[in-house]
Amino acid sequence: MDHFGIWLAAFLTLGIYSFLYRDNAWYKLSESIFIGISAGYWVVILFWDNFYAKFWLQRQDDPMLWVGAALGFLMLLRLIPKIGWIARWPLAFIDGATAGLWGMNFLASNIMVQTKATIMPLMGPAFSGSIGDLLSNLVLVGGTFCGLIYFFFSKEHKGAFGNAARVGIWTIMITFGAMFGYTVMSRMSLLIGRIDFLFRDWLGLLK
């Protein structure tokens, strides 16, 4: 990297980290640069990838593209106060389509697939497999079952039902704990990468 580039990168990096001390002008400057540059970046990407490549180049082949363009145009009518309410039409279209599309997708991929995956034997043929395996499988099946009980809305968490719900939330808490522990490692290596940039690539203080 050239001198200017590396100083700029270091300046912006430190600017962001200065936020950890408190909000200040340096952070505000880095933040403003980031917002401006990144907003511009995404407009350009949207323009070339979505508008130019998907719409403009193929506008004669696919009538569905014009549905999108027409709805997009209706959305712009929001800028004219008198007929701004028409902008709700494309929103209604998106709402309906997203709901219809994902409703079916989640039904298949979340509910059916995961339920089927949990159907498994607790033990191998003729009582084979260790007690440990049996316990592990019981945890897996029982944990899933009790987790579902926890999410149950129609019944107060009381009595035996409440106990099952409690086991359910414990299982969920183990899941969260595991995910937290798992994420820490990679988050730390991100920071190691940045510190290494500052002290080695920029200042050359590290051997």
Partner: protein
């Protein structure tokens, strides 16, 4: 009419997409939808980008607090737009991707956008630490369970975990921290994940139906 037409659109499109799954002649409607969504999003950007410019111009005009930074944001935005839409420094023709080396757009991306993104991302390391200090407390049984599970996985991924329990006899090897970590990941963790995932599935189905049946209609206001 201002309420009825949008509602009719939602109901119609929603049911159409649900049913389309079962009928091969219309089964690609879902893909058509995502395509038209992409195009609507481009038009919507006139509103978003316009809003960005308007907010900052207003700040400038009124000399609100921190108005100087609005100049920076606007400058960056316009710089990136010009560089990218005109493809300044383009070594090829119009079909060349804006992310080709040599373009001004690409070099700003590499020297400003990338380090800033990486740095913001790495802020997480600090916040993980402060959250650990402040929030991971054995306040009740749930919190304690979370804490213990996190601790085992945390230890299991460094030399510390192996060292801490290496004295254990062979027969108890399942209780060595690295093995415990693997067990948690493949059993208890999986059980919790599945319960959450099935629950989410049901939540989405129910919410979709509420939207399509008109029980929920956020942007239409209350039923009259």
């Amino acid at each position: 009419m201002r309420r009825e037409i949008p509602l009719a659109i939602t109901v119609f499109v929603g049911f159409l997409l649900i049913i389309s799954v079962f009928f091969p002649p219309v089964e690609t409607l879902g893909e058509d939808f995502s395509l038209s969504f992409d195009i609507i999003a481009v038009f919507a950007f006139f509103l978003g980008g316009g809003n960005l410019i308007r907010i900052h111009l207003k700040k400038l005009a009124r000399r609100e607090t921190d108005w100087m930074f609005s100049i920076v944001t606007l400058g960056g935005f316009i710089l990136m737009l010009t560089a990218g839409l005109l493809k300044i420094g383009n070594p090829g023709d119009i079909a060349t991707s804006v992310n080709t080396e040599g373009m001004l757009f690409e070099s700003i991306y590499r020297s400003v956008f990338v380090p800033l993104g990486a740095t913001m991302y790495a802020l997480l390391a600090f916040f993980v630490a402060s959250a650990s200090y402040r929030a991971f407390r054995a306040k009740n049984r749930e919190a304690t369970i979370l804490l213990v599970a996190a601790f085992i996985i945390l230890m299991g991924s460094t030399p510390l975990g192996a060292m801490a329990t290496s004295w254990m006899p062979e027969s108890l090897s399942i209780f060595e921290i690295p093995n415990l970590a693997v067990w948690i990941m493949s059993y208890a963790n999986l059980a919790g994940q599945r319960a959450i995932i099935i629950g989410i599935g049901l939540g989405v189905v129910s919410m979709s139906l509420r939207l399509i049946l008109g029980v929920e209609r956020s942007y239409l206001g209350k039923e009259g």
